[in-house]
């Protein structure tokens, strides 16, 4: 993990939110807008540190709510509640498998809107709900699931092309190497 990866994740979230506000094609074709923030959160939780996960939840949620009629800050907690358990259990997840990414993306994309709606209803708001919401939820889940492996591939490619790896210090020092064998005089 390094700073570049944090910048990459936040940039991806920034562009994703912008894309969701200007691109209306998914809504016109499928009847729902696909949210990419949960998919990016899955990537961040599996590949970066907790600080990046928290930053993504706070900034991603803020950016999303800025252009939405949502109360400011309501999208932060659902993102964090999805990213945090994945981060805690990431050692047990086969993160390089596209199927694992797909399943995690589906779960995250299903949970985030459900938790956001729950928070809105708890806060006394009246969002637009009906039987069509079920269809929108399925589209968001499927869209997020399909997008997650692509986001992993894209982020890994960006990281490989533009990123850097921290130089690790090893205990080996060549001047202290014990030479074995016969001493030649």
């Amino acid at each position: 993990m390094n700073l570049f990866q944090t910048i990459l994740v936040l940039s991806a979230a920034f562009i994703a939110v912008f894309g969701e506000t200007v691109l209306s094609a998914p809504r016109a074709w499928l009847g729902a807008q696909v949210d990419l923030l949960p998919a990016i959160m899955v990537f961040a939780a599996l590949n970066t540190g907790l600080a990046t996960v928290a930053l993504l939840a706070v900034l991603g949620g803020l950016w999303f709510d800025t252009f939405s009629a949502n109360p400011m800050g309501i999208s932060i907690l659902p993102l964090m509640l999805v990213g945090f358990p994945i981060y805690l259990r990431r050692d047990l997840i086969l993160r390089n498998l596209p199927f694992a990414q797909f399943v995690l993306g589906a779960a995250a994309s299903a949970l985030v809107p459900a938790l956001t709606l729950l928070m809105l209803l708890s806060g006394g708001k009246e969002p637009l709900l009906g039987w069509g919401t079920l269809w929108q939820w399925i589209v968001m889940t499927a869209g997020g699931a399909v997008a997650t492996p692509f986001i992993f591939t894209l982020m890994d490619a960006c990281n490989g092309a533009l990123g850097y790896k921290l130089r690790t210090e090893v205990s080996f020092r060549s001047d202290r190497e014990i030479r074995h064998g016969r001493i030649l005089k």
Partner: protein
């Protein structure tokens, strides 16, 4: 697994959320404005990207086609001028009759054209943002329409852009009249989250005689929308709550799914 720093991070995020949700509306609007301004370079790029194909098309458009367009526009202009003269005479006559009956004189609506620059990213609201703000004279609750019909009202205003809550959103209820002999009055409310072209007209009298295709216009009640703005046409109706009142589905005239430009009514009740 459960280290202290993990709890600290989670706690910090929860504190941020609680702080944000407890902010007053005015502070939230300012925060939205400040955070939204981070995206200005991207919006500049997007609009430049949209303008580029138009500019390229202008460069390669043949001369004879341009001349034909000019000719068509001249003809249209002449037709509109003659209509304008006719309507001016009708307006004069209307004013004279109003003066005769001591009725209040109506002034024409002052309209401002706005471009739709953003759409709602969440699926559970219906809003758009336009490129006019308080510096253009916009304020909350001004009605917004297209040439086809009512679109919604201004819900919040910042310096350079405003949020429009569209008809069919739970936060945009409109008092409407059906153009039938009884002039039945009801309230336009949200219909469903997927189909943006349909809304519900509810609280109509149980005796309302509704037929498919009848026009629905704003009633002027409620103090937000002036009378007579077309909304849509009745699709079907049904009796609800054991015949207590009637609900009808209304197909909107304005296509809310592909809004690009809208008109803001600056003086709806003058």
């Amino acid at each position: 697994m459960f280290k202290q720093k993990n709890y600290l991070a989670l706690g910090a995020v929860v504190i941020v959320v609680v702080l944000l949700l407890s902010l007053p509306t005015r502070a939230t609007d300012r925060l939205k404005l400040a955070v939204g301004s981070w995206f200005l370079p991207l919006f500049g790029l997007a609009s430049a990207g949209q303008q580029l194909p138009v500019d390229l098309a202008d460069c390669v458009l043949p001369r004879h086609e341009l001349l034909q367009q000019i000719d068509n526009l001249r003809r249209e202009n002449q037709q509109l001028r003659s209509q304008s003269v006719q309507s001016a005479a009708i307006a004069r006559e209307n004013d004279q009759l109003r003066a005769l009956f001591n009725w209040q004189r109506q002034s024409p609506w002052k309209l401002k054209l706005a471009n739709v620059i953003m759409r709602e990213p969440a699926n559970w609201w219906r809003t758009v943002q336009i490129d006019l703000g308080s510096r253009d004279g916009l304020r909350e609750n001004l009605p917004v329409r297209t040439a086809a019909g009512l679109v919604g009202r201004v819900s919040s205003v910042s310096l350079t852009r405003s949020q429009i809550v569209l008809i069919g959103d739970p936060n945009c209820r409109v008092s409407a009249t059906v153009e039938n002999p009884a002039r039945d009055i009801g309230v336009i409310v949200a219909s469903g989250p997927v189909d943006t072209s349909l809304v519900d007209l509810t609280y109509l009298a149980s005796s309302a005689n509704l037929k498919a295709g009848q026009s629905v216009v704003t009633s002027g009640l409620g103090g937000v929308f002036p009378k007579g703005i077309p909304i849509g046409q009745i699709v079907d109706s049904r009796s609800v709550e054991y015949g207590l009142y009637t609900d009808a589905r209304v197909k909107l005239n304005a296509n809310l799914g592909s809004l690009e430009q809208v008109w803001v009514l600056m003086n709806p009740f003058q």
